[in-house]
Each structure stands twice: as structure tokens, then as C-alpha cells.
């Protein structure tokens, strides 16, 4: 173990020395890398250290290839080659030039065991801490923080001192602070603590807690009084920041969940809220939208794979049309005979939902379908220490757009006017020349079409299976009932409230318990306000 540590120490010091402006190419690489071609593990470990210490430009590339198992030995002349990540082309390890005419059969990979791989990783961290590429430095700083190695302290000091990038600098400082804590010298440990203060990161906090608190046997893990006090103060300072950061994160997650609820419930707010139809097949309209997305993407995969990123822009109108048409047919064929009999409508549409589920299962099979995400939706952005995934952000934006569009449609268009007229007073609207039957069909089609659009969004974050709709139907009804029937703004507030509340309860009670709790709270809430948050007043209440 001791030799192992001193080896790493030597290796890293070597690396640090190497990165002082050394005369480039002064050493010849060939003897340094020769042990990789035939030596045992001990020689290879030594070679890793020498290579890191050499300061050669190629060192990082060779070490990386070694760790990934891409460093190859040519059987004919023991020449070292680096395979490209896809394994199709080869470059000379020493010069970096592409070597033509090498087949994968004629070369074998340099064998690496886990111990060697760990040493290579450590050496790479040291080498890349000072890399000119900021991404590499960022990764190296995080890797070094995880591995926590006292031997890396000197190079970390240098790296942190020379770091100028405002985004990388905090990562370097944390890694440096964590490494300083390992020092046997209390003064250096004391200098490490301030660097860790004020960060909400859980790893950092557990480090500080280890310093400030007692070990299991009651003795202090940290012997120096001043370090303990400093750690406690740093924890204190971090606590409020952590609290705010966690709260912001919960609110984001809550809004994200709320926007999903909003999307799945907003179609229902039209059919149930505006028309008073209990559509238990609403979830299946969502499911049909998701399957439409799948079919559209399959078409793109087959005929225009290059334009795959655009598939969602085709899927949204397609899903709206398909689900909307289903809705219109359902309304004309069945639901219109059941107006005024809400309980029967409920049962009929439940039966319909079973039939639709089984139809989809028969056509597409019971398993989940693969729906891809376009490249502009994958990845994450970092805002103030929070990592926000792009697809969640897009769904929030999308939910907002759909909501705004729907409000505009109902408030600003002739169709919206007719819809509101028929809802408020059917016979009067009819007397004014509005074709109520047509408006009914269109309204129901609109609600179903919006559900289809929700399906496009949900296909990006959930499994596309015949049961997709069932998992949302109860939540959707809860949102509409909670927000108040017949009121789109109520649906918006209801969805966001439920989303945020769920996310705040989850860490306290667990995901399932949070869901149960929210359901129970809604059940109790409905007792208090049977007509929801934003109740309609006046005549509509009586009907």
C-alpha cells in the first residue's frame, strides 16, 4: 500500500513538474511507452508515472487510450497504436499520425487491470487539471474531488491559482479545499475550510459535517479545535444557501410536474369543465397522441432520418388531428345521446377507454414503444448551481403555449364565442342561430385534440404503452375538480399547486405517500369547497 501511495505521489509530482514549461519534445517518447508493449503490470505502472512526468503533449492522449482499452500493440513490430473510439481507424501512439492499412486482427489491446486503470485515471486527473480545454479542467476538478487524494494537493494548488474561468474556478476551489482537509498539517486544513463554505453541494456538506461532528466512538474526528470551529461556521453559512437552493430546485421540479398535469388535464377542463361531459376515455386520447408521435417518428426514421429533429413539429399537428377526429366521432356516435345523464356518460366512456386500450394493444403490442427525443431537447443547462434538464424546460414552455393558445381561442375567436354561448345557455344560443350540435362536436374534438398534443409531450418523458392514459386520468380529474370546473385559470392554478405541493411533500414522506397524501387532501378539500378553488357563481351552479 505504501509503495502504491508513493507511486501515485511520484507520478503526480512528476505531472506537476511536467507542466512547468518544459522544452517540448525534449524527451523521446519511444522508450517511455515501450513497457506497454510487453512489460508486466509493475513495469506498466512505472511507465504511466514516467509518461505523466514526461510533459509530452501526447501523454494525455496515450493515457486516455490506455484507460479506455484503445491502446493497441501491433503484433508484427510491437508498435503502439491508438484506435479511434469506434475502432475503425488507427493512429501511431507516438506521433499521432494516422496509420493506414492496419486491420483490427493484426493488433491486440494492451491489457489493463483495475489497479492500473485507477492509477491511470489519477494521473490523467493530474495531467488534465491544467489542460487548456475548460471542459476537461471542469471534469478533472470534479474527478479529483471524488477521488480525494492528498498527493494531488500540489498540482491542485497550481491549477486553482491559475484558473481564470468563472465557471471552472468554484469547482477547482472545492476540489482544492477538500484536498487540503486531508493534510496532516492543521494550518493547511484550516485554510481548506473557507473554500468549502457557502456551497450547497451534499458531498461538500458531508465533508464538513465529518469535521465538525463527533465520530461514532464520541471522539472528534478532527483534532484541531480551530478547524472544528471553522467547519461549524462554514456549515452554518452553507445552510441557508442550501435551503434556498433546495427550495428553488423543488419549485422547478414542482412546476415541471405541474406542467405535465396541466397538459393532461387541460383537455379535460374543456370536455368536463366547459361541456360537463365526464370523459373517462380522456387518458386514451392522450395515449393516442403519444402513439401518433411514435408513428410519425417511424415515418421519419424510414424516409427522412436526417430530419429527425423536426419530427415533433409534424407530430404535434398530427396528434391534434388524430385525437381530435377520434373525439368528434365519439361525440357524434355515442356521447350526444347521453347528454344530461352524466353517470351513464362516465360508464360509457370508461367502456370506450377499455376498447381503445385493447385496440392499441392489438395493433402495436403490449410493450413500450421507443419514442426518441430530438437533439435540441436532450441535455441540461446549469443555472446557479442547479442542473435543469432541457426536455423538462421545453415541456413547461410547451404547456404554457398550449394554455395561452386555448385561452385565446376561447376568448378571441368566433368558435370560442359560440362554445361559451352554448355552454351558458343552450336553447338561447340555438335560437340565435348557432348550430349547437356542430359546436358540441367541435368542442369535444378540441378537448380531445389538446389531449393528443399532451400525448406528444408525455411521450418524451414517459413510457409509450397502452396503459399510458390510465396513469394520468385520476390525476387529471383531481386537477380539474380541485381547480374548479368550468374555469381554465383554475386548472392552471390547480395543476401548478398540486405539482409543487407534491414535490415538497415527497422528500418528507416518499413518493407514494406524497401521492396518497395529496389525494387525501383533495378529497378533504372537496368537502370544504365542493366546486373547487375557483367556483362558478350564479345560475350555472344550479345546473
Amino acid at each position: 500500500m505504501r509503495t502504491f501511495k508513493s507511486l501515485i505521489c511520484m507520478l503526480v509530482l512528476g505531472a506537476a513538474w511536467a507542466l512547468t514549461p518544459a522544452p517540448a519534445g525534449a524527451t523521446d517518447l519511444a522508450p517511455l511507452v515501450a513497457p506497454f508493449a510487453g512489460g508486466g503490470f509493475a513495469e506498466k505502472i512505472e511507465a504511466v508515472g514516467n509518461l505523466a512526468a514526461s510533459g509530452e503533449v501526447r501523454a494525455a492522449a496515450i493515457l486516455e487510450a490506455l484507460a479506455d482499452g484503445r491502446l493497441m500493440v501491433l503484433a508484427a513490430d510491437n508498435r503502439l497504436l491508438i484506435a479511434s473510439p469506434d475502432g475503425t481507424s488507427f493512429a501511431d501512439a507516438i506521433t499521432g499520425e494516422v496509420v493506414a492499412g492496419v486491420s483490427a486482427d493484426s493488433a491486440s489491446a494492451v491489457t489493463v487491470n483495475n489497479r492500473l486503470r485507477g492509477i491511470v485515471r489519477g494521473a490523467l486527473g493530474g495531467v488534465t487539471l491544467l489542460s487548456p480545454d475548460r471542459e476537461q479542467r471542469l471534469r478533472a476538478a470534479d474527478a479529483v474531488l471524488k477521488s480525494r487524494n492528498l498527493e494531488l494537493l500540489p498540482i491542485l494548488e497550481r491549477a486553482a491559482a491559475s484558473e481564470t474561468d468563472p465557471q471552472v474556478k468554484p469547482h477547482m476551489d472545492i476540489a482544492l479545499g477538500a484536498a487540503r482537509l486531508l493534510s496532516p498539517d492543521a494550518e493547511i486544513r484550516l485554510q481548506g475550510v473557507p473554500l468549502l463554505a457557502g456551497h450547497g453541494d451534499a458531498d461538500v456538506r458531508s465533508l464538513l459535517e465529518g469535521l465538525a461532528g463527533k465520530a461514532a466512538d464520541g471522539s472528534f474526528a478532527e483534532t484541531d479545535e480551530r478547524v472544528r470551529a471553522a467547519a461549524a461556521a462554514a456549515l452554518e453559512a452553507g445552510a441557508s444557501r442550501l435551503f434556498i437552493q433546495q427550495a428553488v430546485e423543488k419549485v422547478f421540479q414542482g412546476i415541471s410536474l405541474g406542467s405535465v398535469l396541466l397538459l393532461s388535464a387541460i383537455g379535460l377542463a374543456i370536455t368536463f369543465g366547459v361541456m360537463g361531459i365526464i370523459n373517462m376515455a380522456h387518458g386514451e386520447m392522450v395515449m393516442i397522441g403519444a402513439y401518433t408521435t411514435f408513428v410519425v417518428q417511424e415515418c421519419f426514421r424510414a424516409w427522412a432520418p436526417g430530419a429527425f429533429d423536426l419530427s415533433l413539429f409534424v407530430a404535434i399537428p398530427a396528434a391534434f388531428l388524430v385525437s381530435g377526429l377520434f373525439g368528434i366521432v365519439i361525440e357524434r356516435v355515442a356521447i350526444r345521446f347521453l347528454y344530461g345523464r352524466p353517470l351513464e356518460t362516465l360508464l360509457m366512456t370508461w367502456g370506450l377507454s377499455l376498447v381503445l386500450q385493447q385496440t392499441v394493444r392489438s395493433i402495436f403490442g403490449p410493450t413500450n414503444q421507443q419514442v426518441g427525443s430530438p437533439s435540441w431537447m436532450s441535455g441540461a443547462i446549469e443555472v446557479a448551481g442547479l442542473s435543469l434538464t432541457l426536455n423538462r424546460i421545453w415541456i413547461i414552455v410547451f404547456a404554457g403555449l398550449v394554455f395561452a393558445g386555448l385561452v385565446l381561442l376561447l376568448r378571441r375567436t368566433a368558435l370560442g364565442l359560440e362554445m361559451r354561448a352554448v355552454t351558458q345557455n343552450r336553447s338561447m344560443a340555438s335560437a340565435m342561430g348557432i348550430r349547437t350540435g356542430r359546436v358540441d362536436a367541435l368542442t369535444f374534438g378540441l378537448g380531445s385534440g389538446i389531449a393528443g398534443i399532451a400525448g406528444v409531450a408525455l411521450s418524451q418523458i414517459d413510457n409509450v404503452s397502452p396503459n399510458l392514459g390510465q396513469s394520468y386520468i385520476i390525476d387529471s380529474f383531481m386537477v380539474v375538480v380541485f381547480g374548479g370546473v368550468g374555469n381554465l385559470w383554475g386548472t392552471l392554478v390547480g395543476a401548478l399547486t398540486l405539482g409543487v405541493a407534491t414535490k415538497f411533500i415527497e422528500p418528507l414522506a416518499g413518493a407514494v405517500a406524497a401521492k396518497i397524501l395529496v389525494l387525501v387532501v383533495i378529497i378533504l378539500f372537496i368537502q370544504r369547497r365542493p366546486r373547487g378553488l375557483f367556483a362558478l357563481r350564479g345560475r350555472a351552479v344550479e345546473s
Partner: protein, 381 residues
């Protein structure tokens, strides 16, 4: 309207009486055909069939309970499966305690799943369930109490119609999620199973199974009679008046919510008893009984049979569950088509169910035959 009501009931009563006669005959004859007539005879009823019929009759009892509040009270509960399952769990807990040292882990007190979860002590709510009388009290009291509290809150604040349907559905959904949790102490996903004996009788034995079947028949007959008495009483008429015109009944001075809570609680107790009889015959109770789909299946059984008649749901439950057994066994792909089609056809074309449709079908047939006869005689002239 109220005056004509007894007359309408009298018409129903012929069907109800016929159903009761059939049930009593079943209760008397099935044991004979199972136990007395030897296995070689074609009249012999195998034991598995007896248990299957017992299962259907449990669902029939649950359907009668749903019909009491939906058909007569106008309260559509989409969560009655919850009361059924609670009664079932109470019975299941008793049966688990009866296993004793015969479980896989042989612990004299703790059921297997608790040993598996490394629990040291029995949770407090499991105490006393080794006593049959206490377990039976729980079968009645737990669903009854939940229904009373839930109904008292809901009806007092005038949650009606589809709102009530949706929150009953949320209730059973929440209970399902809760019972799936291992930490709740009811066996989580797997529920309670691997029962050995009831009151010292081996559950696998033919005699026990026959006794359970007869007990189910008695419970169903009792349930029908009690519901008939309620429906025929003045109290029952007020319940029906609430169904037809809630505000008017309230303005006449009746405390509508009290009548509704009463009907809802009685219905839940009947459902709990049905669940308790169901569990030993099926041999397992798990959280899927709480699923909203299971509750809605019972509602459709009531609708198929004909709501607002007490014997219609019995017919409906047997028909729907026989169809389920048949299709899930023979043609599993189309079972959901059949079930969904039943929902749609019944609500669209037969709002009174098969029982309500029968007179018009009979008339149509009679007319057809009369016309045929006329044509025949005309042709003969």
C-alpha cells in the same frame, strides 16, 4: 309517485322471489351434488366449480350493495371495491394468524412476509385478529366506519353526482397505493395468501369449501332480504326520493345527508361481508382489489343486470363474471373489447339492463309471432 311505488315493487318482487328460490335451491343442492354423488357421475359438481360459484355469488353480494346506493339512492360509487377489499383484508389477517408455525419461516406469531421484512414485533393493528369474533367485528366495522366518516363528510357538504363518483375513485386509488407499500404491514404487492385453515377446518377440504359456499348463499339471501326491507320501508322511500329530487326532498324537511350516510354505510358493510367471504374461497387478497377498474367492473355488473331492481345485479354479476372467466380463459385478447362493449351497449341501448330490456324483447317476440300467425292465416284464406 310515492303511491305507485309499492305497486312497482310488487312487480319487482316476483323476480326477487324467483332469485331467492333459485339461491336456496343452489344452497341445498350443490352440497348434495358435490358430496353425495360420486365423482364418476355426470351430475357430480367438482369442488373447484363450487368455489367458482361461491366467488360469483360474493361479487353478486357486492353488486347488490352497489345497487342499494346507486339504483335506489342515486349515489354512484366508483370505489366500492375498497370496502370489499377492506373486509377481505380483515378476513385475510385472521387467516394469516391461523397459519401459526406452519408458515415457511415457522414463526408462531409473525406472518411470513413480516419475518421476510425482518420485523420483530406484530404491528398493533394486527393484535386480536387471531380471535375469530374480533376479526368478524373488524369485517363489519372497518368498512362501515370508513363509509360513515367518508359519507358524513361528503354528503354533509353536498358533494353529489359525478364529483362524488370521482372522489370515491380517488379514495380507492389512494388505498390501493397505500396497500402496495410494504411498510403498511399488509404484505405489500403480494397481499395475504397461503392460508391454511378457518376455525380449525382445512381450507382445501371439500367440506370446508362447501360450507363456505353455503355461507355465501346465506349471506346473499340475507343481503337481498335486508335490502328489500330497507327499500320497502318509509326510510327507503325517502332514499329513493333523494335520488329523484334531492333539493325537493330537503325542502320537505328531510335531512337528506342522514339518509344518504345510512344507505352508504349499510352498503359498505354488505360489501365488507362479501369481501370476507371471497377471500377464503379464492385463497388470496392483494391490493389489486382496490384498483379503480375492479370497482367499475362491479358497477357495470349492476348496470348489465338492471339497477333499481335488487335481483338484477345478482344476474348481472354472475353474467359479467362468467363472461370474464370464459373470455380471459379462452380468448384473452378480446376480453377488454367485450367488457368495454358491454359498458357502451348497456348505457346506450339498455339503460335498464337485461332485466329491463326483457319485457320489450318479449313483446317484440310476441308481436313478431302474432304477425307471423296473421300472415300465415291470411295466406291460408
Amino acid at each position: 309517485m310515492l303511491k305507485r311505488f309499492p305497486a312497482a315493487l310488487a312487480g319487482e318482487d316476483r323476480g326477487l322471489a324467483a332469485t331467492l328460490v333459485v339461491l336456496v335451491a343452489l344452497g341445498l343442492l350443490v352440497p348434495v351434488f358435490n358430496l353425495v354423488i360420486g365423482e364418476g357421475s355426470f351430475l357430480h359438481i367438482p369442488t373447484y366449480l363450487v368455489s367458482l360459484m361461491g366467488k360469483y355469488l360474493c361479487y353478486a353480494l357486492l353488486a347488490v350493495a352497489v345497487d342499494l346506493i346507486w339504483g335506489y339512492g342515486g349515489i354512484l360509487s366508483l370505489g366500492h371495491g375498497a370496502f370489499f377489499a377492506l373486509g377481505g383484508y380483515a378476513m385475510g389477517m385472521h387467516l394469516m394468524r391461523q397459519i401459526g408455525t406452519r408458515g415457511v419461516y415457522g414463526d408462531p406469531v409473525l406472518p411470513d412476509f413480516m419475518v421476510f421484512l425482518a420485523w420483530k414485533n406484530l404491528p398493533w393493528y394486527w393484535h386480536g385478529f387471531d380471535n375469530f369474533a374480533i376479526a368478524m367485528a373488524a369485517v363489519v366495522l372497518v368498512p362501515g366506519l370508513l363509509a360513515f366518516v367518508f359519507g358524513w363528510f361528503a354528503f354533509r357538504s353536498r358533494v353529489t353526482g359525478v364529483y362524488l363518483s370521482i372522489i370515491t375513485q380517488a379514495l380507492t386509488f389512494a388505498l390501493m397505493l397505500a396497500f402496495f407499500q410494504n411498510a403498511l404491514g399488509f404484505g405489500g404487492n403480494n397481499g395475504l395468501t397461503d392460508f391454511k385453515e378457518l376455525l380449525g377446518f382445512n381450507l382445501q377440504a371439500d367440506g370446508t369449501r362447501i360450507s363456505l359456499f353455503v355461507a355465501t348463499v346465506i349471506a346473499l339471501v340475507g343481503g337481498l332480504v335486508i335490502c328489500r326491507l330497507i327499500v320497502g320501508s318509509k326510510l327507503g322511500r325517502v332514499v329513493t326520493a333523494v335520488r329523484d329530487a334531492e333539493s325537493r326532498t330537503r325542502f320537505l324537511g328531510y335531512r337528506v345527508e342522514a339518509f344518504k350516510v345510512f344507505a352508504f354505510t349499510v352498503s359498505a358493510v354488505i360489501a365488507g361481508i362479501a369481501g370476507a367471504l371471497y377471500v377464503p374461497q379464492v385463497g388470496i387478497i392483494n391490493p389489486s382489489e382496490f384498483s379503480p377498474a375492479a370497482s367499475i367492473e362491479i358497477v357495470i355488473a349492476v348496470a348489465v343486470g338492471g339497477r333499481g331492481t335488487l335481483w338484477g345485479p345478482v344476474i348481472g354479476a354472475v353474467l359479467v363474471n362468467y363472461a370474464k372467466t370464459f373470455f380471459t380463459g379462452e380468448l384473452p385478447e378480446i376480453w377488454l373489447f367485450v367488457l368495454g362493449g358491454m359498458f357502451m351497449a348497456v348505457t346506450l341501448f339498455m339503460p335498464k339492463g337485461v332485466i329491463g330490456a326483457w319485457p320489450s324483447v318479449r313483446d317484440a317476440l310476441a308481436n313478431g309471432r302474432a304477425r307471423q300467425r296473421r300472415t300465415v292465416t291470411e295466406a291460408g284464406e
